[in-house]
Amino acid sequence: MPASAASGLRDRLSHGLAAPICLTWELTYACNLACIHCLSSSGRRDPRELSTDEVKRVVDELSTMGVFYVNIGGGEPMTRPDFFEILAYAVGQRVGVKFSTNGTRLDQASAERLAGMDYVDVQISLDGATAEVNDAVRGAGSYRAARRAMDNLAAAGFGPFKISVVVTRHNVGQLDALAAMAERYGAQLRVTRLRPSGRGADSWAELHPTASQQHYLYEWLRDRPQVLTGDSFFHLSALGEPLEGLNLCGAGRVVCLIDPVGDVYACPFVLHDEFRAGNVRDGGGFAAVWRTSELFESLREPTSAGACASCGSYDACRGGCMAAKFFTGLPLDGPDPECVFGHGHADLAGAGSPPRPSADHSARVPVRLVARG
């Protein structure tokens, strides 16, 4: 579509939609890994998590609202004993499911079960092409577990699953190897941006790609439009031709997040009270939160370019990611901390202590992954 049509559409989308295009739903804070960049600081289950029946009522609502699919995550969603029951229910209500898993619970039997379901996509998280690079972020044994899950999906004839990679300073040099791995499996590669959210607040400074790596990443993605990005690298579009995708911050406009206790946040990367719009247990359910919450209404107002107004690339990157700015202590109407022109650097140096994520479900003791059969 021509650029003018694309930007017209982007303007319409920024005013919000009748229902989200893309809704992330974290089913549990329980996780058997303790990745150092976990967006939701997951580890321990929260006793207030939605019950099976409550989850089904939310699915009913999403189905009525015409939400096409949900991105299910966590925590590790497969640790929920009702995981397959929820999947089957959602698909039965014509709400497609894409779910992210670390793969540790994806044994041969579950792979075969998944292969038999329509409208279910699986994303295996992997943050390196080698155990050394991956396990430094995701924990000892996690590479082997993820590869075993991929082997199980391939053996079950699941079809093109996704390998989902958070791009870091240490794995950006392995993108070609990761693409080759995906090709060998007949899988799709999906790469997303590291955010300073959750436990990522503490690891971001040492993990986020360098400026020259960002240039490399932009070129790499430009050459490979088939690689999925979840629209997460739009801040790189300031470097030239826009990358594939809508190239806008969709928080509260086209995306949102439901957390395991039913809290609704503007996006998966801002689990903080300031971006909490309501709870699905409130009287009007999810629909009322989406349609009438004050937070979402304010996010749908026209935004000011602020300190970025004088930059010729503002129309391309729109100032970047709200969550990245928030959790690095930068003003929301200024440059992204990873602004490709370095406009965020000076501000970063002067930023006070950034806000901390509101909740922490991290395991109290380090978890150890025990290899299973």
Binding site: R12, H15, A18, A19, G66, F68, R94, G96, Y119, D121
Partner: protein, 85 residues
């Protein structure tokens, strides 16, 4: 190739959701999201199944508008939002 003289319908694996700008279409088979950027186009797409050909459905529109909507239908057919009956 889109043949407007044939009967068409919304693809059975496609869900349409009305939006202020028109509608969003999601194809559960190829997992693609498509934007329909006018209310008229949305109504036209929904009407296809009631006509013997896409051309008959287009005939409900004023003549000068038909060519544009014929191309829009061709694009939707190429994205498999439409299905030949």
């Amino acid at each position: 190739m889109f043949d407007a003289s044939r009967p068409w319908r919304l693809h059975p694996q496609v869900a349409l959701r009305d939006e202020s700008f028109g509608a969003l279409a999601y194809h559960y088979g190829n997992r693609r999201l498509i934007f329909l950027r006018s209310r008229t186009l949305v109504e036209l797409v929904r009407s296809l199944e009631h006509f013997d050909s896409a051309e008959d459905a287009l005939a409900e529109l004023k003549e000068p508008r038909r060519a544009g909507y014929r191309s829009a239908l061709a694009r939707l057919a190429a994205s498999e939002v439409l299905d030949a009956r």
